[in-house]
Subunit: 409 residues, 2 copies
């Protein structure tokens, strides 16, 4: 079967950092990205952080000639930021919004407003069915004390589950995006172990670009140098992952990253480096085996580790649910107390009005404000508890399945 | 192949109306449901509106003997209300939360707090892979002027897409739940047309129960009689739908509904009637064909109709987004004006204080409250616009695919 025809697919992945009013030299960079994509003629382009629909429309017009097919995934307040451009027809799409994605009150970390999701586009190229996934997980703002780790792990788990459940009819699965996790992080190991996806960087025959495949590097003029101090070479958080499901093999012939400034320009495309993979897909005589028995043990360890972290998040969320609920009850009690006092005064029980009117009103409004806020927080953390608990349960079910597998074989 | 072994599966579906503190005689009814399920020994039980996790745990304990496998889907503030009990092992689960589900400020219609979702459980029975879906769509509070129709249509669409994308490896697909739609409604036609699911009531060889298979009937002592005035026989909104995907056929041998009071009791299980189907699954020599070309035209009409309704919802959501945004801007302006006036007084520009202190403070607090509320509403309706717009786009893509199909063939 070695003589079977092969398909070569060139994939481009980039976190564009195109936040209207906030990202530096945004329009100039989006133009530059569009020009490069048109000139280079990739087969498939996966972009994240295209937050403005206008930027997407501009790119769509510019790229209509070489990438006639495209899709923008709408979600959240300002969108998912995810879009796909393709040389081949897009047959179908589906969006899955992660159940947890940070906190709406953490305005300085705008992740909640982005409605983080995973987008799926289905394509058929030379008779091969491709399930292409694009995603962007919650950012890591502080590696030492990462308050968002449980949320990011829930996202990694939901991403893995979504890929597993929707890719059963696919021949080849591709995932591109900014996963906001280092290659050895538990979330990446969970995702790779649970889906069987392989890392294009680790598998590439040829590599060219930033050392260790890093995609957030000090050489990029837009990166925050202080954040990268513990990592002098930079970090790798943008990935192209792949696997063949049915009787195909996928190999990564070449992987490239940009290295700061775009070729022949003085500025980079973005604060992230682009990842470019050339994949080589060939039909094989027999299906490639699924995850092996020996790998199951390692996978069970990863799931256990992830489940522990989710449990830590669950306990924190329960504490926050409790304290916001207690705050709401206290505010309600204060309001009731004030109402009783006011009614007492009206009924002429007290000879004179006991409090200055202004302070009394201010206090009532304050109590009302605290009540509203604390109730909102309580509802939010209740949802958070539900989702963390649900994920913990699902992971437990996965562990049981993993442990039972050898005895079945 | 007529001689192939067959599988007979008995399925029970019920909206349990088990809202803590609100549903009448809840604990008594949950006990009754548990007793009946234990006595009758179904193969698969799909329950909705089990809002209290305690009720689920009680049922789980009671049913451990005859239904050793179960799953509760957590989501939203008070849960999804969805749970499954099964005689056969549950291999895997996945939850998909609908992107739209009413409005948090419609407290009297609590749907938003329920986190409406579709749950998937995967089972293997006698070597046949079952994808079982359970769901509960947004309620219809006023049929003549149904403000939630666009949201329910988005849910029906997402449900159909989720089923299509996750059932590729299944042999048999089952869907049970309270769809809150009459059999001829556009959402049901969309769901059935787009997935190819068949209605157990329409296909049943034998039927026994309420006339027309109604599941919300005046004979039930818990139903609101005034709501059912236009429908003297009741309405049918709870369904069991099914289809075979690979080389199997599914037939509905018998369909039953309860008819008000539970057998031998003075009260019904719930305000809804239970739906019980006996399905007959047989292996066939060749795969059953997918949707036919002639059906595509009718399906295109349904998708067009649904898309029009989603468009109506999109325009309404855009109006609400605009008016809440305008309100927020006005409140902000008022606050700024007050700040200027207060600063002016402090700086001694005005000879005397121009307003009574109390009214001034009250006005400021009012403006602040309106600003917070209007901003929240604006964010919410922005998300609503995004999701309606995204669904409209997806439906357009589906229409294009439907129209292109004949030319491909």
């Amino acid at each position: 079967m070695e003589g079977e025809p092969t398909l070569r697919l060139r994939v481009f992945d980039l976190n564009c950092w195109a936040i209207r009013y906030l990202s530096k030299r945004r329009q100039e960079r989006v133009r530059l990205i569009g020009d490069t994509l048109r000139r280079e003629g990739f087969d498939l382009v996966l972009l994240q952080e295209v937050w403005s629909e206008q930027d997407y429309s501009d790119l769509k017009v510019k790229l209509a000639g070489c990438y006639p097919f495209s899709h923008y995934f709408r979600s959240g307040v300002i969108g998912s930021g995810l879009c796909v451009f393709s040389r081949f027809p897009i047959l179908d799409t589906l969006l899955y919004q992660y159940s947890l994605n940070g906190y709406p009150y953490m305005l300085q970390h705008g992740d909640w407003f982005g409605g983080k999701s995973v987008g799926l586009v289905i394509m058929k190229i030379s008779g091969i069915i491709f399930n292409v996934y694009i995603t962007h997980l919650h950012a890591e703002y502080c590696r030492d004390k990462d308050a968002y780790l449980p949320h990011r792990l829930v996202q990694a788990w939901e991403l893995a589950q979504f890929i597993r459940h929707t890719s059963k009819a696919a021949d080849v699965v591709l995932l591109g995006g900014d996963l906001n996790m280092h290659p050895e992080d538990v979330g990446i190991r969970l995702l790779r172990g649970w889906t069987g996806l392989r890392d294009a960087f680790a598998e590439a025959t040829r590599f060219e670009g930033c050392k260790n495949g890093c995609t957030l590097v000090p050489d990029n003029c837009f990166t925050d140098k202080s954040e990268l101090l513990p990592f002098p070479l930079g970090i790798r958080i943008d990935y192209i992952l792949y696997k063949a499901i049915s009787s195909f093999t996928v190999k990564c012939e070449e992987l490239k990253t940009t290295t700061g400034p775009a070729p022949g320009m003085d500025i980079p495309f973005s604060d992230h480096e682009a990842v470019m993979a050339t994949l080589h897909i060939q039909r094989q005589g027999q299906p490639v085996g699924a995850t092996l028995g020996t790998a199951d043990l390692a996978l069970a360890d990863v799931v256990t580790e992830a489940r522990t972290e989710v449990g830590v998040g669950l306990r924190a969320a329960r504490r926050q649910r409790y304290s916001s609920g207690r705050m709401a009850v206290l505010a309600l009690l204060l309001l009731l107390l004030q109402a009783v006092a006011a009614l007492g005064t009206l009924a002429g029980l007290g000879a004179e009005q006991p409090f200055p009117k202004l302070s009394f009103c201010l206090l009532a409004f304050l109590a009302l404000g605290v009540l509203a806020l604390a109730t909102g927080l309580h509802l939010f953390h209740t949802m958070e508890v539900k989702m963390l608990h649900g994920t913990e349960d699902q992971m437990w079910m996965a562990l049981r399945a993993l442990q039972e597998r050898p005895s079945e074989g």
